[in-house]
Symmetry: D2
Subunit: 340 residues, 4 copies
Amino acid sequence: MAEQEKLTFGVIGAGRIGRLHAQHLSQRIARADLLMVSDIDEEAAQQCAEACNGIRCSTDYHDILSDSDIDAVLICSSTDTHAQIIEEAAAAGKHIFCEKPIDHDLGKIDQALAAVEKAGVMLQVGFNRRFDANYRRVRQAVESGEIGEPHLMHIISRDPGPPPIEYIKVSGGIFLDMTIHDFDMARFLMGSEVEEVYAAGAVRVDPAIGDAGDLDTVMITLKFANGAIAVIDNSRKAVYGYDQRVEVFGSKGCISTANSYSNTATVQTQDEIRRDLPLNFFMDRYVDSYLDETEQFLQAVLTKSPVPVSGSDGRIPVVMARASRKSYEENRPVRMDEIE
Amino acid sequence: MAEQEKLTFGVIGAGRIGRLHAQHLSQRIARADLLMVSDIDEEAAQQCAEACNGIRCSTDYHDILSDSDIDAVLICSSTDTHAQIIEEAAAAGKHIFCEKPIDHDLGKIDQALAAVEKAGVMLQVGFNRRFDANYRRVRQAVESGEIGEPHLMHIISRDPGPPPIEYIKVSGGIFLDMTIHDFDMARFLMGSEVEEVYAAGAVRVDPAIGDAGDLDTVMITLKFANGAIAVIDNSRKAVYGYDQRVEVFGSKGCISTANSYSNTATVQTQDEIRRDLPLNFFMDRYVDSYLDETEQFLQAVLTKSPVPVSGSDGRIPVVMARASRKSYEENRPVRMDEIE
Amino acid sequence: MAEQEKLTFGVIGAGRIGRLHAQHLSQRIARADLLMVSDIDEEAAQQCAEACNGIRCSTDYHDILSDSDIDAVLICSSTDTHAQIIEEAAAAGKHIFCEKPIDHDLGKIDQALAAVEKAGVMLQVGFNRRFDANYRRVRQAVESGEIGEPHLMHIISRDPGPPPIEYIKVSGGIFLDMTIHDFDMARFLMGSEVEEVYAAGAVRVDPAIGDAGDLDTVMITLKFANGAIAVIDNSRKAVYGYDQRVEVFGSKGCISTANSYSNTATVQTQDEIRRDLPLNFFMDRYVDSYLDETEQFLQAVLTKSPVPVSGSDGRIPVVMARASRKSYEENRPVRMDEIE
Amino acid sequence: MAEQEKLTFGVIGAGRIGRLHAQHLSQRIARADLLMVSDIDEEAAQQCAEACNGIRCSTDYHDILSDSDIDAVLICSSTDTHAQIIEEAAAAGKHIFCEKPIDHDLGKIDQALAAVEKAGVMLQVGFNRRFDANYRRVRQAVESGEIGEPHLMHIISRDPGPPPIEYIKVSGGIFLDMTIHDFDMARFLMGSEVEEVYAAGAVRVDPAIGDAGDLDTVMITLKFANGAIAVIDNSRKAVYGYDQRVEVFGSKGCISTANSYSNTATVQTQDEIRRDLPLNFFMDRYVDSYLDETEQFLQAVLTKSPVPVSGSDGRIPVVMARASRKSYEENRPVRMDEIE
């Protein structure tokens, strides 16, 4: 592959994220060739394939895995299928980009990561927010020492509205489904590992979420190996839209991000000064980051460099989520090594 | 007076601004002793005197001028009386602080300034905005070279609502009544004299203002001796409140000010992101600057140093206002030396 | 006192805060008459008295308590003297305004509050931030339902730099000395009582603070009776200055405050866009709130209305501070009723 | 063409803007088929064609005009060739998208527009900023009455740096080369025609620009038929980057836009509060608007609807530029009908 200039792809799962990735691969990433898309829903697979210059499609992802022309797969199917497909794709010698989370079960994750290692293929996990310009700027400030040694951090991450209760029931819970992104962000921004978590939580948005055994409002304290302390603030429903901000405070200063907006206009009237609401959800807010993470995966594979988000980066947030759930249930701080 | 540590004052005119100055002199400026207040309205004089620890009051300002215990007068009476009182106060050997404008008539201004010079007393004109923290910061940026050589400037100055038509009729017109502050601000911020003006104007707020022969909406272009170009944007009615901002753009950067607010809170709802309106009018917005200008007048008199806003600083904006009116009427650029 | 229009005061303690209160009482609050000031340091007492129109002074606060012309006292002496002076002042029939905290010892607080109750005098505690325009606006948003039911809150409160180590050693620790203001703010903004706290803390600013047995960096989780969850973020050293912000997130929206600045100017250069640092410390940032709390105390006494910050409001934050320290030491959530 | 679902394109001119349009047509606009690209520079044409999936290329745009498979052309060649190519393309029955300005010579423009009308093809002019989200939001506020009747407007449009002097010499001057965009913006935002202009100008950035007979710093007053007054503020060099803002003030309020940035982060240090500079030039700042204008052209052609920016919209700003130059040279207001 030393001489190879393009990478060929198959996309497994043609849901919302799968279609986005397929479109990026077929139209916006010059060195990518998308050859096939699969989905268990035949119509979804066909529509996606058609939108991507009429490539091949299938209802069986094994058609992708067995196609020797395909170098790499993007796994965008439902979470419960990730670990199994990773194992099979690794065995088939495909490089793998897998949407988050790898799985809810640490045992399955470990088995999948072992298969990847054994096969010698590359695996990147889809923590796309790392590639967002705002968070990259914060990471840069921490890494470069622009704000000195980090002491305190706030991660605010609120969704515009909760998913359907049916989804909540199979989601693995707010920590595994929603906070998982923020657990990754916490590690990424801080450049240090979390040693202990304390999760306070409540059902404030919808009692049905509580009935389903889940929480919709959480505030999680994280203690890092480097001595810093952080909180993650999650709500399933911010009526004003998708609220995604961070602040890192350190010995030499503080860096804070604001939300992103469709326009910068401010209107002043006799009643108030106002602006329009922020970009409403992740497909708008983070669209550039999805493109960028895929380009960096492609670059890593073509140059045989380390991927920017490893299998281990995919595993640790699941440990953090499990520790947070345990902390909430037992109302006490829980150390990471109690889980692992 | 070399050994003098306090300055004694009389306030002439107990209207809104007169009362504010009287209160500052009696309560907030340690080295000032307010001894008397006068107003042609006896009740106004009495109320003001009472609010100031029960000092003396009079309906005749000559009682102040003839009181040998009084070092300095603050002239806060109606504009048409300023020039006459300045002359008399100068003849009585009082130092003078006079509210803006000195007069609408350049001949009267010149006569008053001559009287001041002959008497050897000090005269400061009440362009209080020069003492506002925002404008001082802009002036500092221009003066220190922080933004390099100034090239372009915007002065935005909009009132929350027009004064009564009766006032408009005797106001001397928008250029002498309202823009006069911005003419002073333009010279102050730029540190250079205006050579030519071009005034575009319209009646957009209230036809009655037009019937009274005045304008309510103007945009005035200023060309400065230093080569910079500025515009002043005035409206008699900004429904959202008092709008007072400037921007100076130069070879090394740009400095812009925002409005001032009673609080910094931002509210996000499902409809919009909003904040409360700015401080509503000059008594709220510029209150600190009124205190500061008086303290600096006192300091200048006690130390025999130049006042920060001279008689000439009071005269030039009147010339600019007259040139602007001429420019509007003849729809052409008018040079300052056409007026003087 | 029904006919009384003025209230007479004595100020006990002429340190930084005492001098500020004395100046407000003598110069800026029309219905207040400051008659005497005391301080164990004779020079401090004299200087303060002189600055306040030459009123009487003493090195013994009993001279104030025994003066029958004095209606009310402001206790601004060191914290360890508060409880004792409250008891004596109450016995002398004086109304009492006492700087925070009342004491570090709950027993002493209870004894002082009992004395106040027995004497039938009024007691207000100096949590001045409640009177700040920003926090009042947030409280209004919560109280009026503008943001719906509150779910989550962040209180950020960082000092520009730590006090001297000698002070730290007798301060009672960061929770009693610094967070005490934020504990009060949390109750005030939320309009609900805290039931449980979890305090994470570290020594990140100066090891000498740790050697003195104290922390300089803390993040405290609060669970409220109304179901909301909050965090308080404290640091002894924000290099960019005094950082005082809050955000309350609720079912119908979110309200956030920003810092306060000496000017609103923004400068753009070839390197960056910048503005000047925020108002640097509490004497600048909260000066209006000190004036306002005293005026409201005076108003409450003159009209025999409830004071805005009661003795109980002074006691509860001390309980919260003690619970936080216990939580930190035992690394577990601590319920308020474990302390009381 | 009623049944047609796709539109076929040729791009004439493979410079910076031509390459951007070609890339959008070939990769990001689903209903567009880019078939050929031409440039007098063979290498430029080849590189562009290759980047667009290896389509055909030519050094002679007549190859595009004579290709009966091509429905529409995008004219991105140098300005002096626009009018001629428009005429030929119209004669060849192609729909035309032409970059701004159509020409510097009103006679040539009229001839080209006549040819378009005669041929019955559609012509859209490339004023891309109309499609920017910020300006669309402002237009919406004016059109919907959100800010009432417009009274005053500021358009600020400053480039990060001047083009080479060689370019300046053939550019037609700042009014035709740079302000042309703002003239269009003024008409677009206001929804009213300009009746008179007054242009103040100076050479402040580089004396060589003056030696070339041009200006680099201008402030232009516009009077509109609807009674509103506006200023356009242009500088060839803003050291902090591309500065693109507008403010429209009306009877019911005011709308203002801010610049666009690559990230929203704010950094606070012991020296200042700062953020990174705005997006640096039009390819970054307006990239989405280029995509959007092309999509709307395609939509207009496919649905036989009016194009959003007509030939007349291309002509009027040239008249405004000529009037501004005349105004500057004669230092007097110039009416549009003096030019036409």
